[in-house]
Symmetry: D2
């Protein structure tokens, strides 16, 4: 399984301050992640990608940089991150699932027109539904897909739910509707194929202005893959190369959604509940929507989560 | 378009003597090829692959080494080629067609069980027939395909024509039959989709003992992509790093099929006629079969070929 | 041998308009260059690099993107070039000299503080002078050098000639002086080591405001590696993906220096004379200085250049 | 810090059985190693290399395959390892030290003639002694070195201690003497340069017949980097993809030296004592020599080692 981060702010940040400098950034998480539910492979070294929108051209497609080399030692990433500023950034580090080769085509995020997409988790039994899924996708999107992962084809399915995926702007509710339909169709395909292992569908999508993402599993008695969010007025990197989320009264200028908390200050991070759609509006407001389908079970005694104090791998006093 | 070579001999050769040392080997052709029909991009630098069978284990699957780095400056290739001997070798250098990304998954040759396959040319209008082609392929082969090129899917179609593609041995006629059916189906798919641009289908396939390949186009008034063959008793590299094919009386121990001649001795190389299937049997005998389908037109006044004396890019006296 | 381009303009240009879109850009030159003096290897596929300064931060270090994959099929380059604007760009495509491995550390341009450097040609007999050259370089620069090419060590030697190479700005004459001293010392080292094969020293250096470069060989009877320049008021890409240099009266807002002409309009390109230092000032003025050292020989009957009309590989009527 | 393994046996083994199939092989250690003294970066994903001798040509140079892609997901490695057999194998996974870039030139093992070398640890303050070390190395070796790591230059220093490093065979004592001199000179250089941080010098060298390696630190009160050895009559991979060392009475046909134990059977693995030279003779006999220099301190109360039962990251009953 992989990890991702979504960042949206009113003011642009330098990618380096978000991705490469902080000691517990997603890049560093790529070789030291603690919250993964699967324990087979304790790192994400099978490529990475970062996508961002140019603050000067908010209605233009994003730029995406991907690499099959690990993120933690990538001179191009270091040099680009030291130069580029953006107020909407996606970043993903990948642990290749069995059967999907490592190639730049398989690195998240992917883009199509102004839309950008990434996924943490997997579509269970994907090979059994792959053909049925592909049959739902129109040619222009079908031929745009160069890789072969469950994640990229899920993006294709998402694009198919939009009237015109090449528009430059979308109402947040459009993205929300298309993403929920994507989840629904994936569930239907799994049922039709008789797949009874659970999928983990933490999707994130943006048009450069809104972000819509899901924390979702179609299994009623297990947790979904972890997903947290935090907001504040400023997000900085202190002298120890650790992040600090600053909170000014009544000002929410930054929202981060991340597979695991990026700071040790527990109170700064909220867990997104299982089976929830999370929306960040163009004005940086946050909305949560429970996904009350047949897998919705708020009272279920799901498996216990990893306790907070092991999140960062060590006990931190003072800030907790 | 790309270039490939097939080599079969009774005695194993060092890969270096075939691939890296000779000045006009396929590796050097990768940046200096003269016979290409398309002139858009005069080199093949978008990855390469070499596959070979272990002489000690002729009924085992081949080993394949691929790289997205250009072949002409690849230390791993140089070091491996200096060590490995084989009597059946495929090698391919790739010029990425528009729309297919560069990735190791897209490098020829591909293998499946004991079978190995490579292609020079392209399936015209591939996007228009891709779904129909995929629908013909059973699941086990379908999910074995990790890339997305016309060439690899043609291999899938070929495998589909065999009763059991995972057998360790095949009668040469089985391979011949399956390859001809592959060509026929590709033609049918093109007709159904209304594609009127010609395909260039120089395929090569082997089970480690026989080689079957085609020089073929479904266009009656143009030549197929170039394809030559040579045979002899010994194939060596002289002091100028140039190949020499030696011919002892009545001994044919080596056959080479190649997109372009590997030596300057014109008499050593025969052009395989257009729309012909070429077979090398396990005993290193050579058979040619015209492919007399609806595109067969032996008398057609096809476009003139590049004259012989420019094949190697310069005039060579004495040996011609 | 390699190829490079230097671009400086009053208004920023999109890197794509300079590097990836035009059919005869340096990226396309990387697989189709016609003016190379050496004919051993007719392409530059052994890595490339592009460096640029952010127009919003002219006194900050440049950003450099390098890759060992060929430039002509590099999705990251395509995506970045479609987004990034700059008014001072260096770009280099590399053909690895014998003995120097392909690695990102060996890709030009290199940077140190605000300075950026690239080289076309080679330092003859470099192995014989390498230790003596290294002995001249102070520790901080010495340990900054991660590759092992003659070119990068020449950059180290250049940096050594500056009082403080980490300053943010330089007077053009300082850069000129340091570059001339670099050439002088390389000549002295060659003489001391008894090297009698000629070096080709087409260096380019910038601090983000001025550009200083040389077309130079220490051989009195052969030409240096080719180098051209052009200037105008606008440099655009027409509907055929070919460049056009536009010339408004008395306005020189753009200067390009390039290993070979980028357009087919002969009158737009001037050859920089052999053994000349070429300077572009912060205000985009151009100055040429003959390098009148012991290798200066303006009257020499040097070997004839490749005729103009083969520069672009075909005859173009009308525009010539 | 990195990890390495040396394998020597009377009968050749398939590389796959040694490197890729076992769940606790060095390749898997590359993303799940437990014994590392430094805890900064818990994985070795910055390239790897494997070198082996052809059993049919024991007096020929080794073949080396290196890659900057992580070892655990490398199709070329998987395919080659499934084919190649050898009775003397070195394998190394790398965690790039700060300051040394990731490139194939920096991947261990390196070879020179018939000799092969790898290193786990680091030469403390290498930048301060680099020039003095280089001055000791003759030109032919100096120019053979393409990377820039402390490890490769230590190899250069080792080669310098041999009368003729290009001979095809060496008496084990020659290799031992040269390796001890290498350690001595590195200590002297450190002393001269006033370096007081300890070096970790776990070197391994072979000529294809003998192996000589060191577990060494020049710090009297800390342990050296971990190093274990095991021997037996057969080394197999069981149905759970775990290694088993088999011990027939009085038969020692296999010796493995490894940065960490490869099996969970504690009694099969001996720790090589600190500051010891370990030798495997051509006949697969094992000899240990304490390195009784000024850093020898057998009674020192060194820092406690990681307890055995955490070696493999979990408690295993039965076999312990």
């Amino acid at each position: 399984m992989c990890r991702w981060i979504c960042f949206k702010a009113k003011a642009p940040v330098l990618l380096a301050d978000l991705l490469t400098r902080p000691s517990h950034s997603i890049i560093n998480q790529s070789f030291d992640c603690r919250l993964r539910l699967d324990e087979v492979r304790p790192l994400n070294g099978d490529g990475f990608g970062v996508g961002w929108y140019d603050p000067a051209e908010p209605f233009e497609p994003p730029c995406v940089f991907t690499s099959v080399l690990p993120a933690w030692n990538n001179p191009n990433l270091s040099r680009l991150a030291a130069k580029i500023k953006s107020n909407l950034v996606f970043c993903h580090v990948r642990a290749a699932s069995s059967g999907f080769p490592i190639s730049e085509s398989n690195c998240h995020p992917w883009s199509y027109g102004n839309l950008m997409f990434q996924h943490n988790g997997y579509v269970a039994g994907f090979n059994k539904i792959k053909r049925a899924l592909q049959a739902l996708i129109p040619d222009d999107i079908y031929h745009h897909i160069h890789g072969n992962t469950d994640s990229e084809w899920s993006f294709g399915l998402f694009l198919t739910q939009l009237d015109d995926p090449l528009r430059t702007q979308f109402v947040p509710d459009e993205l929300k509707g298309a993403l929920l339909k994507t989840v629904t169709i994936l569930n239907q395909l799994a049922t039709s194929a008789g797949i009874d292992t659970p999928s983990l569908l933490n999707f994130a999508v943006t048009d450069g202005r809104s972000i819509v993402c899901t924390r979702y599993t179609n299994c009623s008695d297990r947790e979904a893959a972890s997903l947290y969010w935090s907001s504040g007025s400023k997000f900085t990197c202190d002298e120890n190369n650790e992040y600090q989320m600053h909170k000014a009264a009544k000002k929410e200028d930054i929202v981060i959604i991340s597979s695991e908390p990026l700071t040790f200050t527990k109170s700064d991070w909220c867990k997104i509940p299982d089976n929830t759609l999370f929306m960040v509006t163009p004005n940086v407001n946050v909305l949560l929507f429970p996904i009350e389908d047949e897998h919705w079970n708020p009272k279920a005694d799901r498996e216990p989560e990893v306790p907070w104090w092991t999140v960062a791998g060590r006990i931190r006093s003072g800030t907790e």
